[in-house]
Amino acid sequence: MIYYAASILLILIGMYAVLVKKNIIKIVIGLSIIDSGVHLLFIAIGYVKDATAPIYSRPGLEAGQMVDPVPQALVLTAIVIGLAVTAVALSLVIRLYDHHKTLNINRIRKLKW
């Protein structure tokens, strides 16, 4: 249960960074932290006590001794998508910095909430 709490806390920390921070790089870092929190939450749902990774690597392993493989496969997809999102976000940050010469979102007009 503490795994759920910790990963939700990680999601909240990331959202706090996205909402409060002024530096765009820190906002992108916040997005990545939200990503990690969601991944941990998924893996925690699939966890089974005293079970191993879902690979039949040695003889004698049975299906009853393994964790749920579906969340792991979903997280594998999600990590790649998260990487793509972060890369595109950072390239947009590079272009914004080229144009405005600042990373502070308060100085970039029309972007304030």
């Binding site: 249960m1 759920y4 690979i55 690597s57 009853g64 579906v70 594998l76 272009r95």
Partner: protein, 226 residues
Amino acid sequence: MRKVIAVLLLGIFGYYIFALFVNVPFGVRHDNVGQHYLEHSVQETGAVNIVTAIVVSHRGFDTLGEVTVLFLAATGLGAILYDKKGKKRRLQNASLIVKVASKLIYPLIILLGAYVFVHGHLTPGGGFQGGAIIATGVLLMFISYRRFETNHNALSWVESLAGMTFVTIGLAGLIWGTSFLQNILPLGTPNTLLSAGVIPLIYIAVGFKVGAELTALLDNMLKTIK
């Protein structure tokens, strides 16, 4: 003021998510499709790594979409960072120790990446992880040698050919089998390198594609450093 509002909002948000997940029992086996995969995947796909069996075989179409998203991200990044005058990386050369060491380690990192994506159906790992490892090897060379260049034409050829291989394997399943991405090769004995039919082929293609894409992406980003 804004921080207080943010903390309040996040507190409410977090409370409701946690209240949702309290009802999901932790650490016990849920009776769902995962059990079926664990019990039958080895007979059905021949891959002993069940996560690979799900990603490449059961959800192969989803993985094709994922590869497409990565391709679109790399293309979009190239378009956003495009500059008419050809740019060069302006990093400084690293120190002698770093240069010599990275020259020694670089082929080993490439080898490790290739090992990870070739053995995707046997060990933890696969195309995406192996491609990422290869890209980190190239990144090491980028940051230690200022003049180390990659051939962008070759990278896009590798990328396109790997993507086309993936689609071709899928179409072959449609022609000689019954559905897109169906396994048409013999499954072989589990736990050997030449097993699991088309899964290693697809993962090798994905490994090449991800490695080439991430390398081009890193090169594009490093070239914008002033």
